[in-house]
């Protein structure tokens, strides 16, 4: 995997510039410093991108999930040692429902996925604004926050949880029928259709699954800063899609996967972190990431150039 070498190389470059950079403590910090929530979101959107669709609703979805979680959590007692633990599954359910709605809007109303999800993202932002009135909900439960504060093998607990989630995502991708179907739909919607797959159902399920991962991202984000608010998902869209593309999953679908995304997130974060360490101005940092997407997103050879399909029936991607 060339991408992995890329991450290592980038790391080496920054450690030359600043010798502190590659210490284990630092690596753990790269891991936690905002990597995990966007990583979860990136894993979720990976499935969508494999299907050849796009989902831009993550910021709204994360905001809604975070706010709903925090609201229920605080309402039921505010600590995991009470019935408030129910807020965890509730958050996942909300994420799934959000994704379901997103998928249904896309498939049933035949709105291209980028437009449907973009709108749903705004709906989510609005919804969370409505729920919070612009305020923040604080979640200070020590047990819940132990995701951030407890360390095992030098890494915060949430890093281990995230690893587990990624393994599950990989299992879904490679060992389940729905995972296979994502690739089939992305590899050729017509073909999947002509093979008797219910493409619409697969798409809706894909968005639902992504919603579940967005919910996990929301949980990690809340655990990390102890606040649920409308801005909880801020910038996740750009970071997650950048990571997926940099990891090598093609935006036209059919290839790539969870491991690519993990590597992509690492590269983006190493570079991001490295740029802060080097003291690059903020606007330059964003510019560099933009360039990265352009470089990673272009077709490398002829075989990767998306074919133009004959438009017959609903063209949904």
């Amino acid at each position: 995997m060339g991408a992995a070498t890329g991450a290592r190389r980038a790391g080496m470059f920054f450690s030359l510039v600043n010798p502190n950079f590659m210490s284990l403590r630092n690596f753990a910090r790269i891991g936690i410093s905002m990597t995990l929530p966007p990583l979860m979101v990136a894993v979720g959107v990976t499935f969508i991108i494999i299907m050849g669709s796009i989902d831009l609703s993550m910021e709204g979805a994360v905001a809604v999930c975070a706010v709903v979680f925090a609201a229920i959590f605080m309402w039921l007692g505010g600590t995991l040692a009470s019935w408030a633990w129910l807020a965890l599954p509730a958050c996942i359910v909300v994420g799934a429902l959000y994704g379901l709605l997103n998928g249904l809007v896309h498939v049933k109303l035949r709105i291209p996925s980028f437009m449907a999800s973009l709108s749903m993202g705004f709906v989510g932002i609005g919804l969370s604004l409505l729920m919070t009135g612009g305020d923040r909900i604080r979640v200070e439960d020590k047990i819940f926050r132990s995701l951030l504060t407890e360390r095992y093998f030098g890494f915060p607990l949430m890093v281990h949880v995230a690893l587990l989630v990624i393994l599950i995502a990989w299992f879904i991708q490679s060992r389940t029928a729905i995972g296979r179907n994502f690739y089939a739909v992305g590899g050729g919607e017509e073909l999947a259709h002509a093979s008797g797959l219910d493409v619409k159902r697969v798409r809706v399920l894909g968005f639902m699954l992504a919603g579940v991962f967005y919910a996990l991202g929301a949980l990690f984000a809340v655990a990390q800063i102890g606040i649920a608010e409308t801005a909880t998902g801020y910038n996740f869209m750009f970071v997650s899609i950048t990571s997926v593309v940099v990891g090598g999953t093609a935006l036209w679908g059919g290839n790539g996967g969870v491991w690519n995304t993990l590597v992509g997130v690492l590269i983006v974060n190493v570079i991001n972190n490295g740029m802060i360490v080097m003291g690059l101005p903020r606007y330059l940092q964003d510019g560099v990431l933009g360039l990265l997407v352009i470089l990673a997103g272009r077709p490398v050879d002829g075989s990767q150039i998306p074919r133009i399909r004959e438009v017959s029936g609903p063209c949904l991607s």
Partner: protein, 389 residues
Amino acid sequence: MTSPAGRGTQTERSFQREREMSFIKKFIEQEAINRRNFLFASAMGAGGLAAATMFKAGPARAAIEDPAIAWSYRDRTNPYWNAIVSGGESFVESIGKSKADLINLINEGSSEKSLSDVKALLSKTNGKLALAIDTNDSPNARPVVEAVAEKGAFVSTLWNKTADLHPWDFGDNYVSHMAWSDVGPAEQTATILFKAMGGKDAIVGLGGIASNNPAIERRNGLDNAMKKFPDIQLLDYQAADWDTQKAATIMASYLTRFGDEIKGVFCANDTMAYGVLEALRAEGLAGQIPIVAYDGNAQAVDLIMAGELLATVYTNPYWGGGITAALAYHAAIGTFKPSEEPHEHREFNGPTILITKDDAENFKKQYVDATPSYDWKDFWGPSTGAITY
């Protein structure tokens, strides 16, 4: 979505969306302080002065009996302006009227609408009007004030006006102008931070969106304080765009880069301080490195009481909204004669309340848990003095 061109568009979309999303967030958090952006935008103009003198004589009018009271502002969907207007309503109730008697002129971010609404109301009330207004941008203040003065009504402005426009050039009709300066309070928080550090060692800083006026003023405040503490070193100062998560990321990187060198953190607002605190908490350093912030949010006050935040600053928009309306009203009914007041009573800075561990509990009781009742006739008591240009 299948063509390369399509992918390009998509990237653009995500950029754009990022912008839009952050707009929403900024709107909620920072709309408040954006008002200040235009304050110093216009340079002093001699022509303006000359024009102003024409109105000096303004139609002399005896006190107005029971003038209409109006507040003209952007809109009420964000907490800052909500607090402003709530203060205005509180004042209206204090003179025995109902909240509904306060006329809300909402300009929706348009200076044109702001001006035409005022003109419409002036002709409707035939000048029997006490107006409190933020004119949306600085250049708009002059036509608004001129229209009011021409009709013999009374106006007090908040935040926006050009530096060459002064209440005393309009006799009694332009009652007062109030704004806030962040430079001084930011210097104070920085000073508190440096003193807590014993006047030596190094700090890191996190700023707001680089082009925002409050971000610039607060940074200036920090710089001023640093001049007085030559042994304090600023390791790095980066913009975290008022954002909690971004602040946490940057703080984590600071820790990577400078490690134990960091002995203090200067934050340009509260929300970024929360992110800094969590980045420290992840390293088990919460409460061990002093942090100062700005805005006086309820959570920040709690953190000060918990010893995790050193200081923050509260600007009290509630009082600002009430007293601006009160000034216009009382000038209109003749309680005082503005032209007999000194300049520092006509152009003054709003109050800023510094909150540290000593007064946090008191502050919380007074401002967070309850809405304080103000004496709306104590016009200048809480002010921090004349605006200097």
